[in-house]
Amino acid sequence: MLYRSLRIIRIVVSAIFLVILCVLFFDIHHALPVNAYQLALSQLIPGILQLLFSGLVSAAVIIGIILLLTFVFGRVYCSSICPLGTFMDVINHARSWFKKKKRFRYTKPLNAFRYSILAITALAMAAGLFSLVVLLDPYSNFGRLATNLGRPAVQLINNQVAYIFEATGSYALAPVKITGYQWFSVVWAIIVLAVIGAFTIYGGRLFCNTLCPAGSILSLISRYSLLRIDISREACTLCGKCARVCKATCIDSKLKYVDPSRCVMCFNCFDSCNENAMSLRLKKKPAAIPASQSSAVKPSRRQVLAMMALGFPLVKILKADNGNSLPDGMVPIHKEFPVTPPGSVSFERFNNLCTACHLCITSCPTQVIKPAFFEYGLGGLMQPRMAYEVYYCTFECVRCTEVCPTGALQPVSLEEKKTLQLGKVVFVRENCIVITKKKDCGACSEHCPTKAVKMVQQPDKLFLPVVEPKICVGCGACEHACPTDPKSIYVEGNPVHLKAEKPVTKKVEEKVEEDFPF
């Protein structure tokens, strides 16, 4: 009975973690307190990045807990805490509604393959190439599925419900802009969903035991775990039911052996056994250990990537066509460098540490953060960027810097943020309404929180923007508000974030007038 309840506990715990992470990613009204985002720190790969590159103590504690759990109980992480693992279980379960229940069969471990993948991922990181870990990290993959497929659906449903409310005269539920995704990320998420779905339907937790870096790291420990699933030599009748329900395909019923390096401790086998032959026991003898590769390679700083070099010109080519049909005198704008979110310190650091889980995207109250396409080059595909075409970065907000589970975005205080320069304003005189149409506009200056964009009256009485980049924080308000196409004002990203000067303010003269001026 005790063993059966283990399965129930596993299901409940995994459901809790899945729901928590879904709530984090689907908080479309930004109602969650910032502390809620600490829950995203429960994930292994982001935790490792935090620890290695930001030296965050809490990350060390969490990794310690995960490793300890694994050492004692085996890979419970993969069945309870990992949202992608639970999502695969959901796919598996959903499959049984349409088809006969999947019968799994024992397969040999693909150790050479999975540890090679892990070693290559680690070595690539050490060499400064983080793309593999971004590609394979289960949490980040889950985040991208949630952000690019799940969240727009939640937003759509929200808006439909809001409109029903509105029809009854209530403004209790507000509609939201359906944004935060980008076409490439959506396509990518669909591909990932298809691949994960195929892996799951074909081989249960095949992904976890081949490609997943978290799974491979934990398997290195779980093969020495204290507790493991044991099949009683006496009670077992070799019926093979346990192997048929084992989604990790790690039960060799003929040898009455459960491979601890692949077992994700889902406890389904306990339920399947009519003979009560299965139990959780202290390990008897050391399991055979294949030659394993260490993942503890000392990381070094990233070199300039050939891939990035490849990516930047590609953006230029893709965007080169906007110069064709411009009205007389207007010029296309070429941004040299995209703007990275606050707290990223430098593009290089950010590009290394961000696993593109998109939690900053979903948590951003103004939805100014979007997955990049080739703006950062190939090596920064889907990493978040400041999308000033959607909105601008609010002066009074540091939310994204508080939620990042990998430390790619470092915490920034509200005071620091007010002089944190993400980029600098550039004015394109040729495109400005005041020049092209000889009419007042000033949308850019209206929105500027530091008045790095001022309107200065010209001899012809019109007010023309004049920029002062040294007090610009690069929030993109001017660029967002500018009504021309192409823009007359934009933010050029700082590859390394800088400190802006504080705007000099002078108290206006109080003129106390007793009388009405009319």
Partner: protein, 308 residues
């Protein structure tokens, strides 16, 4: 459920059940002091009091809120809530004034009083940090979002010189009474933002206005028949520079003034003078006056001046 159909129907029903009267009333009122109920003033200006107190005094001179709001009517109160700044920064209409206006409307028997703005900064932060959300709720009013295009419906402005059409928030179309409550501020390109420019907060595509002669568009919009029934200018604190958002408290000067009028051009002209500019120095005021959308010559108006 087709939401637009619903809204369209509800507008037609609104028109059939008496909105037409209100419309007929408000379109013919500009500049006709003789037709005004109450004290017959074109403009009431108050100085030296607190926002709510000054409004109490001013509205009394125009016959009380009852001369604008009838029992069972739906009232739209449109303050300036454009920015995510605290009330002291004077970037948004004073919350105490908004609160008092909503209270007056409720007392006059309004069925409901709804407040919204198409904000520049993130709308939820603006509503909250301006203090207006709390003020409106405390007074028994409702807040509505203006953050998505779905709320805005295209209307024609046939006589407009530059602005021929606009997408207007459904609350403007649905409400029986429309009260415009701007704050007087410096504006970087139009020099001032007061009552006329505050109406940019009920339309969706402001970029079009900016692209196509902002001053003319601001004036043209007054040709749309659903104009404010009453304009109340908050000049308690005035942002004297770095407007319309402001950079710090240093931009703000205390003036303790309030102007109210049915004539949106007149109230803008008076506010301009309070700020220290002549009305004709502000492009859209001059244009609106020339287009006879109101009167900027304050010497021709019957003004009630109250010092507290």
């Amino acid at each position: 459920m087709d939401r637009r159909d619903f809204i369209r129907k509800s507008i037609y029903t609104g028109v059939a059940s008496g909105t037409a009267l209100a419309l007929g009333g408000s379109t013919g009122l500009f500049g006709q002091s003789a037709g005004n109920p109450g004290g017959g003033f074109d403009l009431v200006a108050v100085k030296g009091g607190e926002p709510a107190q000054m409004f109490d005094l001013a509205i009394k001179e125009l016959g009380g809120m009852g001369s604008f709001v009838k029992k069972g009517q739906k009232v739209l109160v449109k303050p300036n809530i454009g920015w995510d700044v605290s009330p002291e920064r004077a970037g948004n209409t004073h919350p105490a004034l908004v609160k008092r206006i909503v209270e007056h409307c409720m007392q006059a028997g309004a069925k409901e009083v709804v407040v919204f703005d198409n904000t520049c900064d993130k709308w939820t932060s603006c509503y909250q940090n301006s203090g207006i959300e709390k003020a409106v709720k405390d007074a028994g009013g409702k807040l509505a979002p203006g953050n998505t295009e779905g709320y805005y419906h295209p209307v024609e402005i046939k006589a407009g010189k530059k602005l021929k059409s606009a997408k207007v928030h459904e609350l403007v179309l649905e409400s029986d009474v429309f009260i415009n409550v701007p704050i007087l501020k410096h504006h970087s390109s139009t020099r001032l933002t007061i009552a006329m420019k505050n109406l940019m907060g009920v339309v969706w595509d402001r970029g079009y206005w900016h692209r196509n002669d902002l001053h003319q568009c601001v004036a043209d919009y007054l040709l749309y028949h659903k104009k404010p029934t009453l304009n109340i200018v908050d000049a308690y604190r005035i942002m004297m520079k770095n407007g319309p958002r402001g950079v710090s408290l240093d931009d703000v000067s205390l003036s303790k003034s309030l102007m109210i009028s049915r004539d949106i051009v007149a109230v803008d002209a008076a506010a301009a003078k309070v700020y220290g500019l002549e009305p004709e120095e502000v492009g859209y005021i001059k244009i609106a006056d020339a287009m006879k959308l109101g009167r900027m010559d304050l010497t021709q108006l019957n003004i009630k001046r109250i010092k507290v």
